[in-house]
Symmetry: C2
């Protein structure tokens, strides 16, 4: 381990570490207008959802580390307390990146990035027609976190209207994550295309897993199982019954050598195989046979 | 487009839409202690970095949509104003998921998830030894966003100490995103492994791209170019000079049929080929030849 007190690091270095450590970050493609109605558009990855009731998104147009100037987006939300947050999918990446160029005040990034302004229903800022989800927001509060370069500004937004492209909805009118094809920011120049890395973990919330502490020592301390293997094994509600184990041994016996003669090591390896298919039940029956 | 007023949606439905729309979300594996020092550990994906100076992370242990109860993590940070935020990499996913089980107060999720408690330097909560980056934080403020089920609570944390595993550092002591191998949450049961979806986009900040509005009509309105293609083409500072174009035509002429006789369509297709390799310079020289 390398350890640093935050106060001993330069803002630039700390900025770099935090942006690599907290990732991948979703992107708010924020559309605002100034007091005269001139549009502005810029992406922000200091962004997330934080509440469903009320529906709250927060993004942070930070003061620039380099010269302590602020972004037009911040000036605009301070003046109008309105923003449309559009999501960024894979097809929009280069245009979103282009719009983050520091064009002068008054330059319309919709034009620069070749994107289409769509009138909103409730707020003044325009929606990005090319974005598959557009969220009209009223700004509730802006919290300044500091006054120096690198200081963030929490823009606390309440979503008042959602627009979702039919192309990303499934038959139940829910959002299909594969069709949506979102991208996120990570450290350095890295972007991450979410769906390339999709995998599923069954939700543990309703069941009460036995936990790794409740496992036999030989399993808990196995040299074969990884932390992920143990995590899967710990997420069962109860050990299988003796009867279920006996049935399992009988059914496997038809295809496999005598389980009773397997060593711990052999059983753990075979159990890992079951786990790799998500078959936690068979893994446990084998381990306890 | 399907459009909804937020107030017309149930909290459950709105929650589902927002969690799918704002993704992938980084994960805070939050370690806290109660007033008696009993440890608690739970993952949260309403989380991000928002400022480098001061270094601020925000996460939200929301009131449960289902029964409007609050999480032990929230009670603990309210009581002690301290937390260690550990990052979650691919090797930790199942253990992090297991620790999100709603065990009773007083149950130590470090034990349940088979994770190792590591003493912190500045704050009382323990670090997760298995996590490659551990961030000791003082809580500056907790902002309650509502009182009903689904209401978030912004826990505003200042990072006071960073611990980074040497295994994820490169030769310059910067964090290597591939080695770090972070995961994030998306809608439904989806997780996303960031590095599976990594790609790079050159940062546009220091240059001032000509923008898509400055391009010849035939290119801007091409049926061949996607938005991403135009975004890349718009991110040059200036068109290539006549001399550079003439040199390009000469050099390509040695390997290729006469460029002068190509149609717009043929040029656009060949330019797309250059763009697919990130060669924006050659794409422009071809297009303007």
């Amino acid at each position: 381990m390398v350890s640093f007190d935050s106060k001993d690091l330069s803002t630039g270095k700390l900025h770099g570490y935090l942006l690599s450590a907290v990732a991948p970050r979703p992107i708010a493609f924020a559309s605002t207008v100034d007091v005269d109605g001139n549009p502005n558009l810029s992406p922000f990855s200091f962004f997330n959802v934080f509440s469903a009731n009320p529906p709250i998104l927060v993004f942070s147009p930070a003061r620039r580390v380099r010269n302590n100037t602020v972004k037009h987006t911040l000036e605009n939300v301070e003046a109008t307390m309105e923003v449309v947050i559009n999501v960024v999918n894979y097809d929009l990446v280069h245009q979103a990146s282009l719009s983050s160029t520091e064009y002068e005040k008054g330059i319309n990034e919709f034009d620069k990035a070749g994107l289409t302004m769509l009138k909103s229903d409730i707020v003044k800022p325009f929606r990005v027609a090319e974005s598959p989800i557009q969220l009209e927001c009223k700004v509730k509060e802006i919290i300044k976190l500091g006054t120096e370069g690198g200081a963030g500004n929490l823009v606390i937004c309440e979503v008042v209207k959602l627009h979702i492209s039919k192309e990303v909805l499934d038959d139940n009118e829910m959002i299909d994550q594969e069709k949506l094809d979102l991208v996120a920011r990570a450290g350095g120049d890295h972007y991450s295309r979410a769906k390339s890395g999709f995998f599923k973990v069954p939700k543990p919330l309703r069941t009460m897993g036995i936990g790794i502490d409740a496992m036999p020592e030989a399993i808990k301390n196995s040299m074969i199982f990884t932390g992920n293997d143990l995590g899967m094994l710990g997420n069962i509600e109860a050990f299988p019954t003796d009867e279920a184990i006996a049935d399992f041994v009988k059914s496997v016996g038809e295809h496999h050598a005598d389980i009773k003669e397997m060593t711990h090591r052999e059983k753990h390896k075979m159990a890992r195989n079951y786990l790799s298919y998500g078959d936690v039940d068979s893994a446990w029956k084998l381990l306890l046979s």
